[in-house]
């Protein structure tokens, strides 16, 4: 059996998401930029940079931004941007301790199967007071919620679990905003591209909804800003 193609590497998914490969496009990137107010020249990494859209935007803002991604497919697509992008793993960042003023992680954390070592690395490379920008899927409370779905949303957790996880790694949450409307909008686009809601759910959870049984998780989408703990 050929290896499964990751959702973000699928052309039909890219048609629905646009170049950013996430709910809301650049909307939450712009929101985070306005809130963080990075000074010109600030050193910022986009972790899971995909096609390089965020890195290009950050550089436009005068920041010394670079990106890192593990997907050769996406890095190849990003080449045309001529932005500094490197191949690498989020669990072994090729950076010294405390060198970053900011780190963007947009719709990536819930898709990796090793969030804890990834957060350890994020906390390591941020300077004390450095800003961590996280946008991601999370699980909304409700009678139909359940944790532990597989697939690219497999790491989605409840809000309190997510914030506690950040705190435990020395990333102090400053702000949590719900932007589930952006997820609903993308879901509608994906339904039109893929043909049905069950195909969309199957794509993001990695299982056939018709065979899975039980209550379905209620996904939400959020923006979290956190600051690296000062010594």
């Amino acid at each position: 059996m050929p290896p499964a193609v990751a959702p973000y590497e699928r052309e039909d998914v890219r048609r629905a998401t646009g170049e950013t490969l996430r709910p809301g496009g650049m909307a939450l990137t712009e929101r985070a930029l306005a809130l963080c107010r990075f000074p010109a020249g600030a050193r910022v990494l986009d972790l899971g940079s995909g096609t390089g859209a965020t890195v290009a935007r950050l550089r436009q803002e005068g920041l010394a931004a670079c990106g890192l991604d593990c997907s050769p497919t996406l890095l190849a697509l990003a080449k045309a941007r001529q932005a500094p992008l490197i191949a690498g793993l989020a669990t072994a960042l090729p950076l010294a301790d405390g060198v970053l003023d900011g780190l963007f992680c947009e719709c990536v954390l819930s898709a990796v199967n090793q969030p804890e070592p990834m957060l350890t690395e994020i906390a390591r490379v941020l300077r004390p007071g450095g800003c961590f920008v996280l946008t991601d899927l999370y699980l909304r409370p409700g009678p139909t919620a359940q944790a532990g779905v597989p697939g690219c949303a497999g790491g989605a957790v409840y809000q309190d679990v997510l914030l506690e996880r950040l705190s435990r790694h020395g990333l102090v949450p400053l702000r949590f905003e719900d932007h589930t409307r952006l997820l609903a909008d993308l879901t509608c686009r994906l339904i039109f591209e893929l043909g049905s809601a069950s195909k969309v759910l199957s794509m993001i959870t990695g299982r056939d909804p018709a065979c899975s049984g039980g209550p379905k998780p209620r996904f939400g989408y959020c923006l979290v800003l956190a600051a690296k703990e000062s010594l």
Partner: protein, 70 residues
């Protein structure tokens, strides 16, 4: 444009009830604050689009369910 955003009836010669000819044209499908363009057979005279039954009972119905569930 993606072929999957083009929704034309598979058979039949269609004419609008106003008498106008039907031609493929871009139509804005909107919901809440979102939306996107799809291509439907549309009346050249009054602008009324023809929404195929499978689109109405398929993708559009499912989008409505997602928005209601939100």
């Amino acid at each position: 444009m993606s072929e999957r955003t083009v929704f034309l009836p598979e058979t039949g010669e269609w004419r609008c009830s106003c008498g106008g000819e039907m031609q493929p044209a871009k139509v804005d499908a909107t919901y809440l604050q979102g939306g996107f363009s799809i291509t439907l057979l549309t009346c050249t005279k009054c602008g009324t689009p023809l929404v195929p039954e499978d689109l109405c009972l398929g993708r559009m119905y499912e989008v409505e369910r997602v928005l209601e569930d939100k």
